[in-house]
Each structure stands twice: as structure tokens, then as C-alpha cells.
């Protein structure tokens, strides 16, 4: 049963620290999405990759957030420096280009103190 995996599942850190979240998309999927979910804003798209290239990161705060795909099996989302307002659940999703279904990972719950 192929699934998107995310690590860590939970992260508590102090303001100013660097946070790195990782995602392994489903094998064979060539699109990857990063979302942030909060009570106030709901689900927000942060970044979108196709074939490892970033196609849209307009939803991401550029000064502190960065997203990369070092290879086809790994996507990373980094926050440096982290702030309390970054506390949220971060979801990764993957899919195939040409098909619009996205499959979600379990999320990383980030708490910045």
C-alpha cells in the first residue's frame, strides 16, 4: 500500500531555530505539494514541484521558508529562523502530472515556542 511519508511527525522548537521537514512521495509520482494547515487559515498551498522543479512557491514566505527536492524520493521544507506564527501542521502531498488527485502524508505538527 503506497503512501506518502513525512518526518518528523511532531516537532517542538524554540523561536529562531532552524526546522527541516521531510517528505517521501509515492514512488512514481512526479508532483509534490507542501501545505500548511492552521485553525485560522485552513489549508494553504505553500509550494508545488513537478519533476523536481519548483513551479509555484508564491504561497511561501520567501524570507524564511525554502523548499527543495534533492532527488525524486525526497522533498524538504525548511524554516530559518522559525517564529511562533509558523506553528501549524505541514502536509506533503504527491501525485502524477496530468492527473489531479493528490495523496497526502500524515503531516508534521510543528510547535514554535
Amino acid at each position: 500500500d503506497a503512501r506518502v511519508t513525512q518526518t518528523p511527525r511532531h516537532k517542538v522548537t524554540e523561536m529562531g531555530q532552524e526546522v527541516t521537514m521531510r517528505c517521501q512521495p509515492i514512488l512514481g509520482h512526479n508532483t509534490v505539494f507542501w501545505y500548511r494547515q492552521t485553525m485560522m487559515q485552513g489549508l494553504e498551498l505553500l509550494a508545488y514541484f513537478r519533476n523536481r522543479a519548483p513551479l509555484d512557491d508564491s504561497g511561501m514566505p520567501k524570507d524564511r521558508f525554502s523548499a527543495e527536492m534533492p532527488d525524486a524520493t525526497l522533498a524538504t521544507l525548511k524554516i530559518q529562523p522559525s517564529e511562533p506564527r509558523d506553528s501549524a501542521v505541514y502536509f506533503c502531498a504527491s501525485g502524477r502530472s496530468g492527473a489531479d488527485t493528490q495523496y497526502f502524508g500524515p503531516g508534521t505538527r510543528l510547535t514554535v515556542l
Partner: protein, 111 residues
């Protein structure tokens, strides 16, 4: 512009009774529509997807949804609610690669 409106923020039903979660969409062309479910402190799971092959779509866990173009609706139903159905449900429309999400409906199941 594409948009999705979930008409109820909360729906409460008794176990064993029917479930109806309402969703209206706005799209300038024939859309792909989805329902996702999120159980407490869990990720998002795809329930079902409409892609114009059939207007009545069957999903997992006994849920189904009917696409009604004349009403621009894609309501989610289940004949008999189970306690395990308690979760938040999201209606979603696909625009290019982006998913446009409804605000969500919390389904509460009373014993």
C-alpha cells in the same frame, strides 16, 4: 474564478441515520471535484473523485456524491452514519494543478 462553498460548518446526526454534507462549486468549465476526510489529528484521505465519467460517484466507507451541473452542487451522502464517520470533510475543486478547498464541515455523530 473557481470556488467551493460548504454550506454547513457543522452537521450533527444520530448513529444509524443518513448523512448529508452540502457543497456548491463555481467553475467556468467542467471541473474535477473531490471529497477528502480528515479524522482528528490525522492526515487527509481521499473519499471520492468526480471526473465526468458518471454523475453518481461511489467512494470509500459507504459514502457517495452526486454531481448536479444545473445546481452546481456536489453533495456527499451516506445512508447510515457510523461513529467512526466523525471527522471533518472537505469539498475540493481542481484547477490546473491547484486544489481549491472548501472551509470544511465537521460531522458529529450522536450515539
Amino acid at each position: 474564478a473557481q470556488s467551493v462553498t460548504q454550506l454547513d460548518s457543522h452537521v450533527s446526526v444520530s448513529e444509524g441515520t443518513p448523512v448529508l454534507l452540502r457543497c456548491n462549486y463555481s467553475s467556468s468549465y467542467s471541473p474535477s471535484l473531490f471529497w477528502y476526510v480528515q479524522h482528528p489529528n490525522k492526515g487527509l484521505q481521499l473519499l471520492l473523485k468526480y471526473t465526468s465519467a458518471a454523475t453518481l460517484v461511489k467512494g470509500i466507507n459507504g459514502f457517495e456524491a452526486e454531481f448536479k451541473k444545473s445546481e452546481t452542487s456536489f453533495h456527499l451522502t451516506k445512508p447510515s452514519a457510523h461513529m467512526s464517520d466523525a471527522a471533518e470533510y472537505f469539498c475540493v475543486v481542481s484547477v490546473d494543478y491547484q486544489l481549491i478547498w472548501g472551509a470544511g464541515t465537521k460531522l458529529i455523530i450522536k450515539p
